[in-house]
């Protein structure tokens, strides 16, 4: 299960700056609204891509869903229940590696399975997840010894091993080279089709959103509101550029919406 529903969700931060900013924009101790009246519904098993200008609060929304942060007002329900705090039902995949550097790949993947009593069963299961992300042979490697892409895959294996209802990914492809990025994108889509988990992805990459998402949600500048919430009913594999004209039109529209014209 992994149904998410937000109702009039708001999040404000208190401006801790002592002096007035030069442009006089924020006063000291003034409340800065980051998320304003967010109403989104994510269906169970849906992959939703969140787009928006940087600093608009996409990551804040993810952190609230993960239980790391709390909303100022409004409510957010996962499977009909309020979030009480972080839980292994919703695993957060961090933008920069969240792998524990003093543990090997094997030990990191084991984190989510550490309470399993049957040692043999635990062993096979860890091995299974490591093989799923094609890291077999690297079990005894430390994160530092892996390339950026391998680190992301290891973290993905660790997240999947807990068998969470929801996978929350904060810019999972940032910092990867172009080809690794493409490969990881493919792997996440395959994984999603195979396991059918609810996945939330924050991204800056419009093509990522169009190619991966079952739905794309666009946020406005701060204070963020939902600017667009569109279901993407296109079969995979998707080609954005030419053949599916509706998708490429949407692509142009998104670029414009985020303040850049694609055609230069």
């Amino acid at each position: 299960m992994g149904h998410i529903q937000t109702n009039n969700l708001c999040r404000e931060f208190v401006n801790r700056r002592k002096k007035k900013r030069e442009d006089g924009k924020y006063l000291p101790d003034e409340k800065v609204s980051v998320l304003e009246d967010i109403n989104i519904e994510v269906e169970d098993g849906e992959m939703v891509c969140l787009l928006g200008p940087s600093g608009c609060g996409k990551s804040t929304l993810l952190r609230i869903i993960a239980g790391f942060d709390k909303q100022t007002s409004g409510s957010i329900l996962i499977d009909g229940k309020e979030i009480t705090g972080p839980s292994s039902d919703n695993i957060f995949v961090f933008q920069h590696s969240g792998l524990l550097p003093w543990m090997t790949v094997w030990q990191n993947v084991e984190l989510g399975l550490r309470h399993m009593e049957d040692v043999e069963e635990k062993r096979t299961e860890i091995q299974e997840y490591i093989e799923m992300v094609e890291l077999d042979g690297f079990e005894e490697h430390y994160p530092r010894q892996l390339s950026g892409g391998m680190q992301r895959r290891a973290e993905l294996a660790r997240a999947l091993a807990v068998n969470p209802d929801i996978l929350i990914m904060d810019e999972p492809f940032s910092g990867l080279d172009f080809l690794t990025h493409m490969k990881m994108r493919e792997e996440v889509v395959n994984m999603h089709q195979f396991l059918g988990k609810t996945i939330l992805i924050v991204t800056h990459d419009i093509d990522d959103a169009l190619i991966m998402g079952d739905r794309v949600v666009v946020f406005s500048k701060r204070p963020s509101q939902v600017k667009m919430n569109r279901k993407l009913d296109f079969p995979h594999p998707r080609i954005v550029f030419n053949k599916q004209t509706e998708l490429s039109q949407l692509r142009d529209e998104l670029f414009l919406m985020l303040g850049v014209s694609y055609a230069v």
Binding site: A66, G67, F68, G85, P86, S87, S88, N90, I91, F92, F94, H96, G98, L100, P101, W102, M103, T104, L111, G112, H141, Y142, P143, R144, Q145, V162
Partner: protein
């Protein structure tokens, strides 16, 4: 880098060369300064008395006595200081309550405690161990606290996400995360402890390298004084070497240097 272009042979020869020059300068000073041997004994003189001290077994006895005190004082300081540092790093209330006291006591030289230490613990090993403890305890506490504060917050989110218990957070996140910093702190602190033991032994006890130096001065045997200094220097070098080795083991478990 420089270190890579030089062979291990060069690296091993370099310190031998610098020590040879040091001894040579020493010898030349003795010959041409015209000072009395009671004021500045020469290298040969010192070596001779060193052999003498080794033969009688007193050098060994004093060295063991000093090492014994440093080991205990340092060990107790680490055993109490590291856990206290972790508590101060993790609990805001504890740090608000205890930090002012720690920073008030920290700048007081362990040597200022000598009168009190002698009154409380009498004459013998205990006051010396106590002084060494004081000299190591505060630096270890402060370094541990700073190390805990500098742990990447992401790791605590990961811990919460995987439903870690409080005990697991300490065992699996805090302790492994601070180990490299702790080892650096221990390396710096053991040197301080070693400096303090000599000072402590000049006052409160009848054995140890510090006592050897003081006693030899009273007997106007400056060659013995220099023997004591040489042994202190050599052991200091060795302690630092052990601590560096420790650092290498731990960095390996973090996956550095295994690539």
């Amino acid at each position: 880098m420089m270190t890579e272009t030089h062979s291990t042979l060069t690296k091993n020869i370099a310190p031998v060369l610098s020590f040879t020059v040091l001894v040579l300068v020493w010898e030349l000073t003795v010959r041409f300064a015209g000072w009395d041997a009671n004021v500045l004994p020469g290298p040969y003189n010192v070596l001779e008395s060193m052999i003498e001290l080794i033969a009688t077994g007193s050098l060994f006895k004093h060295t063991v006595a000093s090492l014994f005190r440093v080991t205990w004082g340092f060990y107790i300081a680490a055993m109490l200081g590291i856990p206290l540092g972790i508590i101060l790093g993790r609990s805001q209330i504890a740090s608000m309550l205890l930090n002012p006291i720690i920073h008030f006591l920290r700048p007081i030289s362990p040597l200022a405690w000598i009168p009190l230490a002698m009154l409380w613990f009498g004459i013998g090993d205990q006051p010396a161990v106590f002084l060494i403890f004081l000299s190591s305890f505060f630096p270890i506490v402060v370094a541990t606290t700073v190390a805990v504060h500098s742990i990447n917050p992401t790791f605590f989110y990961v811990a919460a996400n995987f439903n870690f218990s409080r005990k697991e957070v300490i065992q699996k996140i805090v302790i492994p995360a601070i180990i490299p910093d702790i080892i650096t702190a221990l390396r710096l602190t053991v040197t301080i402890a070693w400096i303090v033991v000599v000072a402590a032994e000049m006052i409160a006890v009848q054995s140890g390298l510090g006592y050897l130096i003081l006693d030899s001065r009273n007997g106007l045997r400056l060659d013995y004084v220099m023997d004591g200094m040489i042994i202190i220097g050599l052991i200091g070098l060795y302690l630092d070497y052990i601590m560096r080795r420790l650092g290498r083991i731990e960095s390996a478990s973090w996956g550095i240097g295994q690539q």
